[in-house]
């Protein structure tokens, strides 16, 4: 068992940001792993297995988030969650981003 959690930074790439549907995808992915997984801006990490928590991030396109995972399958969990972000959550049928990246 690792003593310190593994971390990874990801960027929200899709124009619509981390809205309900992508958040649902991330939660489903995260809950398929045993590790304790947290996500958020540095210093404000929330439970990556709770959609309510993910939505509190209000992460618009371009937002950089830190993911930390602690457990035996931490590496694998980070890989697969990062893959979702990199693929823009396959968020199809959406308009191209018109609004500039939101300041939170």
């Amino acid at each position: 068992m690792n003593n310190t959690p593994l971390t990874r930074t990801v960027t929200v790439r899709n124009p619509q940001g981390l809205h309900a549907r992508p958040a649902d995808l991330v939660v489903r992915k995260a809950t398929s792993y045993q590790s304790l997984i947290l996500i958020g801006r540095d210093g404000e990490l929330v439970d990556c297995k709770s959609i309510l928590s993910l939505l509190t991030l209000g992460a618009a396109q371009g937002t950089v988030l830190l993911i930390s995972a602690d457990g035996d399958d931490a590496e694998e969990a980070l890989d697969s969650i990062a893959q979702l972000f990199d693929a823009g959550f396959d968020d199809k049928n959406e308009m191209k981003g018109v609004e500039p990246v939101a300041d939170m």
Partner: protein
């Protein structure tokens, strides 16, 4: 973003009658129509569009809460309403629980940031169990609007 920025007070419903997913969405959209926030000729299309979104995955996000929503070109700004169902409605929620508390949102397609900030506000406030419970127990629209006002004044959450 605060509730006051997107919740139409006149459209708040403390006593939803609907017993099904589609009916509750229709009841909430009707409340926005009655409040003059949407056009009558867009009513059916907005309901269809919200139902289509639900097919992609339920917006019942757990804790007896759902946030049915859609982007729709007929609105100029984000509009929303709140409804409470005393008995709860089967909404195919992610956690399987019936939904008592609804936040329905309609946003202009070109403003994804506003929609995100509304979701952020709703989810932040609902993390406070007291706020969540008080809302579900509300019997009058006035109680709901007062709770939303108190939430806007940061009486429930730290951040």
């Amino acid at each position: 973003m605060k509730f006051a920025d997107f919740i139409t007070t006149k459209a708040i419903r403390a006593d939803l009658k609907a017993q099904s997913k589609e009916a509750v969405i229709a009841e909430l959209v009707q409340s926005l129509l009655d409040a003059g926030e949407i056009d009558a000729d867009q009513h059916d299309d907005i309901i269809a569009s919200i139902m289509k979104r639900e097919e992609l995955g339920s917006t019942g996000i757990g804790r007896g809460v759902a946030v049915p929503h859609t982007k729709h070109p007929s609105v100029q700004k984000l509009v929303g309403t709140v409804g409470i169902s005393e008995d709860g409605v089967d909404f195919d929620s992610l956690d399987g629980e019936r939904v008592q508390l609804f936040f329905l949102l309609i946003s202009p397609p070109e403003r994804p940031g506003d929609h995100l900030r509304a979701l952020e506000n709703i989810s932040r406030q609902l993390r406070d169990e007291t706020f969540c419970r008080f809302l579900k127990q509300s019997k009058k629209t006035k109680d709901i609007s007062q709770l939303l006002q108190e939430a806007d004044d940061n009486q429930f959450v730290s951040g």
